[in-house]
Amino acid sequence: MMMNKALLSKSNFPVFDVYKDLVYLDNSATQQKPKSVVDAVNTYYYEQNANPLRGLYDLSVKATDAYEDSREKVRGFIGAKSVKEIIFTRNASESLNLVAYSWGRANIITGDEILVAVSEHHSDLLPWQLLAKEKGAKLNYLECDEFGEYTIDAFRAALTPKTKLFAIAQISNVFGRVNPIKEFAQICHENGTIIVCDGAQSVPHIPVDVQSLDVDFLAFSGHKMLAPMGIGVLYGRKELLEKMPPFLSGGEMIEYVTREGATYAELPHKFEAGTVNVGGAVGLAAAIDYINELGFDAIEQRENELTELAFNEMKKIPHIHIIGADNAADHHGILTFTIDGVHPHDIAAIFDADNVAIRAGHHCAQPLHQHLGVQSTTRMSLAFYNDEQDIERFIATLKTIRRRMGYDG
């Protein structure tokens, strides 16, 4: 395992040079970009830019190589068997919609059941809700306990012979807890159920191996893992992808087109209609290089350290309630909380005044908030490039909030 600790430093991220006083703790929403990633995209545009895949000239061959090398990098990063299983999308949301439209509309019929974890992000919920409505299927929810835990027993009980698909995040963007995907996948497959794993919050933070997890689909976004916006990934098991009808249609995803019909290109191109985003793919590859060079050991160690520091300090402050597990180890850099008597928007505004960027609201998980009985919450989420001072600044502001809202203590 490589490990280059210099890569932990903020100095690799120009935004912190521009805003020296900024404490950025909204990493689950999107991460900042290291210079190496931005530079890689620039180099692509200045030295390799062309429309790839069909070009018969040098620059287009370079663009094709840049694109396909990025795909191979993603394949290795998540341990997929073949590059045919790696589809570039715009973001995790589009990846999940692709599965719902293509696999879902071809496989879900009236009377089927779809099971979704109640903590899912809207992007891993609405596509299934709409699919269920369209097909007359039933949408069931897997419930978690107040600590955000899903037990194997509860899961077995929620599964029925009619459950065709189960959708769950490996790490919820509210709880930060790692769900037992591998166990779920095994039970799913015994039951003939397809498992869709939302990896938007896990792939950037822990090593994810699709073969060892044995999931059928995995979706994630580049922008949450150092890469530019506008590039995402859908991993799909080849046997499934091959049987699925196309989703978006157009240039580059066909073999032959006549007036009456068309035959489609091989995987993965079948699912990539129109001119692809080579710049985005190159940026994602550079982000993976950064992560690989740093190593997940270093990333996890650092993120866990900082999580623990923040968690322990937060527990000391009265009127603060952390959502989810009552131990730092189960939070993976995500600490969602409420403060008695203070609305999350006011909390966020006070943090902003102190130049600490955190998020307030429903975090695109309204059904979970309904389940937990809270209207909205506040979330701090960290990345390996945060440091102790960031946590101290966060805690310092947190301590003043009730007072600044007019409470006595």
Binding site: H343, P344, H345, D346, H362, M405, G406, Y407
Partner: protein, 142 residues
């Protein structure tokens, strides 16, 4: 309380609202909501002989939306619907940063919300109760 974040006026109206209670027999009721932040409000007014004789609000929201509602009611109770609409127009201009000193005076305590013009994300919170009142006076809800 001297380091109060939003200023003492807002903190006070948020923590100790004068008009935050139910009014089951109000002549007019109207709901307002800000989908993006999840704030919602129910506004109750008694209007008799062309005068807003009483008013109250219920619902949930941030300090800015709560204080704004409370201050608004303080300002318009005893006034005519036309006057209330005039204040709404003034308030909107204050929030967009286009108000004169004299006009600001007219808004009395509502002037404490002037800083919201520098918080684009909070404009909707400040306007929620005012928009709801306008909807009510224009015949919205029951």
């Amino acid at each position: 309380m001297t380091d109060s974040f939003y200023g003492e006026v807002l903190a006070d109206h948020n923590l100790h609202p004068l008009h935050r209670h139910d009014m089951p027999c109000a002549t007019h009721v109207c709901k307002g909501l800000n989908p993006t932040c999840g704030d919602d409000i129910e506004l109750h007014l008694d209007i008799h002989d062309g005068i807003i004789t009483d008013g109250s609000f219920t619902g949930i929201g941030c300090a800015i939306s709560q204080a704004s509602a409370d201050i608004m009611l303080e300002l318009i109770i005893g006034k005519t619907p036309e006057q209330a609409k005039y204040y709404t127009a003034l308030f909107r201009r204050m929030i967009s940063g286009e108000i004169t000193e004299d006009e600001l005076e007219e808004l009395e305590e509502a002037g404490a919300l002037q800083n919201v013009s520098k918080m684009p994300a909070r404009v909707k919170c400040a306007l929620l109760s005012w928009n709801t009142m306008e909807k009510l006076l224009d015949g919205g809800d029951s």
